[in-house]
Symmetry: C2
Subunit: 186 residues, 2 copies
């Protein structure tokens, strides 16, 4: 089954008609390590699912790159800003490994939302799930020290530490690379 459809089905049922229509709208993309999916200022309004590979999303702040999330296999990608609001992104999305992904444009997604109650429900539940993730992240950033955040990651996303370089992890946790290196030594 198409990985994007598989992901959608986690949130609710789909009739086979809708599934067929979705298959017509979903496209795929193969990119190499280092390539960009999206650069600051562009509008790329789609829902993405990674079949294989890894991406990062980062902001440029004071000539520094600050990572805000990583996308792994079968996670729902796409910062909400571009997806939900179709505004020019202030994020950059770059591939950290050779990556295959599937996507559907938000225009097409919106049509499905209008025509299909099931898809509308799935869309709602995805957004709710994403809220949950973001709340957890805010909480982590607000109340935990650098060291606690590292241990949180170790516990909750150990594969991230295997596949992503220390510098990228550090910026994701909101701390400097040197500090993270020292924490890890313990």
């Amino acid at each position: 089954m198409n990985p994007l459809i598989k992901q959608l089905k986690k949130y609710g049922n789909l009739t086979s008609e809708i599934e067929t229509e979705l298959n017509e709208k979903i496209k795929s993309l193969i990119k190499q390590k280092g390539d960009f999916l999206l650069k600051e200022g562009q509008i790329v309004s789609s829902l993405f699912v990674i079949e294989k590979g890894l991406v990062r999303s980062f902001y440029n702040i004071n000539e520094r790159e600050i990572n805000v999330w990583f996308g792994f296999e079968s996670g729902i990608l796409g910062s909400v800003m571009p997806l939900f609001f179709s505004q020019p992104s202030i994020e950059n999305i770059q591939f950290l490994e050779d990556t295959t992904l599937y996507y559907i444009s938000s225009n097409d997604l919106e049509s499905f939302y209008k025509s299909s109650q099931e898809m509308n429900t799935i869309g709602r539940k995805m957004a709710e799930e994403y809220c949950k993730i973001l709340e957890e992240r805010s909480f982590l950033l607000q109340t935990h020290t650098a060291e606690q955040r590292y241990h949180w990651l170790l516990k909750n996303q150990p594969e991230a530490l295997q596949r992503i370089s220390l510098g990228h992890i550090a910026s994701y946790l909101g701390i400097s690379q040197e500090t993270l290196s020292r924490i890890r030594k313990k």
Copy 2:
């Protein structure tokens, strides 16, 4: 018009039949400053709108209270955790002023989602909007210093600084009260 219905209508249209049904399900509540809407471990699964007043939501971490959000007039309240997932909350919600609010239980809300495409869309858009707010907040916490966060609040929620005590604001920004006091002196 009922303030909760007014709020829902910001996200999409409602037929008058649905509006009538909603009116039957929406309840109101008047509470005094200091009262609790919700204490840690309780399940209060509803969507709230404040007509008049102010609430705070906080966690107890290491015998300290840490504020995570404030609810003002006509904002959508309710941390997503209890609202979307009906799990026991780890949040406490307390009134900082005498408050009148309107609410609908998530069970009732879910029935509306099932029976009404418009309500489903409104629910989706609310969740999307909330994602946007949470993303902004994560970004603020991840990349800004204490001083920058204060100025962000000054610019984006000046009324919060009028109505909420310094200690509560400081914990919301993830900094100590003393630090905030010093920042403000500048």
